[in-house]
């Protein structure tokens, strides 16, 4: 039997007295594209960080492909690509040097070829030899997306990837992450770009799942109003 790509049971994470994620249960099948939406402070970023093994749950279990992240963290990180708010790039190095560094850390075969192929696909080949501190916010974001895809991870976790990107770049991103039967979990405030990629929509509020539905069930035209009512109600 194939294991779920992501399986969380009773997952909680607290920061001091504040519960960012509270007793969350979640199962995501391999290849599924999930969009996380919710107001600020709803726990989207914390959930992405938990799924990426960047932080540990306060309680509960989290498994990726059937393996517990608590005991197989290092091994599982090879199978996860993560895009966070910050680009995770060294300012004093060029984009290419940053990507070569991460390629080595992930033991990517034919690293230069892989970097240039992805860069051409994302139309950022001309940026690779520029130092990161000379890149704009949007350009850094695109280099950072490339970084997350370098090792061709079967799970891709994206925390507001559309923030700071123009419409063309967002469309390119959706195209790029949607292929290869990759499991994608993406948090966003932009319902339109989120829904263009998602098969399933999860709404978080105060660290809890308050709605978990297939994309097809939703009426796109009324979603903005429905979402407002859901998170404020």
């Amino acid at each position: 039997m194939e294991h779920p790509a992501i399986e969380a049971r009773g997952l909680s994470r607290s920061y001091g007295r504040v519960k960012a994620i509270s007793n969350l249960g979640l199962t995501i099948a391999p290849g599924e594209k999930v969009v996380l939406i919710g107001p600020n402070g709803s726990g989207k970023t914390t959930l992405i960080k938990l799924l990426s093994t960047l932080i540990r749950p306060t309680s509960g279990t989290l498994k990726l492909f059937g393996k517990d992240t608590a005991s197989h963290g290092a091994q599982l990180r090879r199978r996860v690509g993560v895009l966070l708010h910050e680009p995770l790039l060294y300012n004093r190095l060029t984009a290419l040097e940053n990507l070569q560094f991460y390629s080595k850390m992930f033991n990517v075969p034919n690293e230069d070829r892989r970097i240039w192929e992805l860069a051409e696909e994302m139309e950022i080949g001309d940026l690779l030899k520029t130092r990161v501190d000379s890149l704009s916010h949007g350009q850094r974001k695109r280099v950072s997306i490339l970084r997350a895809l370098l090792h061709d991870p079967p799970i891709l976790l994206l925390d507001e990837p559309d923030a700071g990107l123009d419409q063309t770049a967002v469309q390119g991103l959706v195209k790029l992450v949607s292929r290869n039967g990759r499991t994608v979990v993406m948090s966003t405030h932009n319902l339109e770009s989120g829904l263009s990629m998602a098969q399933r929509v999860i709404v978080l509020k105060k660290g809890k799942v308050i709605m978990d539905v297939d994309r097809e069930v939703l009426d796109g035209a009324n979603l903005d109003l429905g979402y407002e009512a859901l998170v404020t109600g």
Partner: protein
């Protein structure tokens, strides 16, 4: 990827970042030169024997130079969330600790190598005891282990510039005493026999704190 290859990749990256900015080596070397210069004026020539004064001044200066370096080596990872980038790589957190300790050690060692001739001239040292080739790396490595661990611990505190010395100085007392005593014995020309017990103190200190660092670093950076 093997454990040591991951460590080598991070160290190489740290060296490349430093090569671009030259922040640590230039500023810390300048700091060391200033310290030596000031100490030279602070002590009247002939009042204290050189072999008594020099080891203390030398290690006091290197310790403070180290503190500046450790903070910088760790804080480099804070810009653009790069520490998260390292933590998302497929290796244990201990790889980050060992790599950062080696980077800190190398930066401080370079500063020491640059400043030693200046030291020799200012304090009128007529010879370079071969024992220092073992004493300096051993003591510097011990200070770097604790410095890296504590720099990571104080990284997210509001008073990190103050926290590091407050935490570091009491913990490195054993290795600094061993370094000062052995350097003094070496400069007096007493030979290996007088230096050897202190060398063992430093070796044991380095091993104990390396193990402590490996066991605790994960919790230090995750919280």
């Amino acid at each position: 990827m093997s454990y040591w290859r991951s460590i080598a990749t991070i160290v190489r990256k740290d060296l490349l970042v430093e090569l671009r900015g030259k922040e640590i080596i230039l500023s810390v070397s300048f700091f060391v030169f200033l310290m030596v210069f000031i100490f030279n004026f602070a002590f009247k020539p002939g009042t204290i024997p050189l072999e008594v004064m020099t080891p203390g001044v030398l290690w006091f200066t290197f310790l403070f130079a180290g503190m500046l370096s450790f903070q910088r080596v760790v804080s480099t990872e804070q810009e653009n969330g790069c520490l998260d980038g390292l933590m998302l790589c497929p290796h244990g957190r201990d790889v980050i600790f060992v790599a950062k300790t080696i980077s800190s050690f190398l930066f401080v060692l370079v500063v020491e190598v640059i400043s030693l001739p200046f030291f020799a001239v200012v304090f009128n040292l007529s010879f370079f005891p071969v024992e220092l080739l073992l004493i300096i790396p051993l003591a510097t490595f011990g200070i770097s282990i604790i410095g890296t661990l504590l720099a990571a611990l104080s990284m997210n505190t509001r008073l990190r510039e103050v926290m590091l010395p407050i935490l570091l100085i009491p913990l490195v007392v054993p290795v600094v005493i061993a370094a000062v005593e052995s350097t003094g014995n070496a400069l007096s020309g007493e030979g290996w026999a007088s230096v050897q017990p202190w060398i063992w103190v430093m070796v044991i200190f380095d091993i104990v704190f390396l193990v402590i660092g490996l066991l605790t670093f994960e919790h230090v950076i995750e919280e």
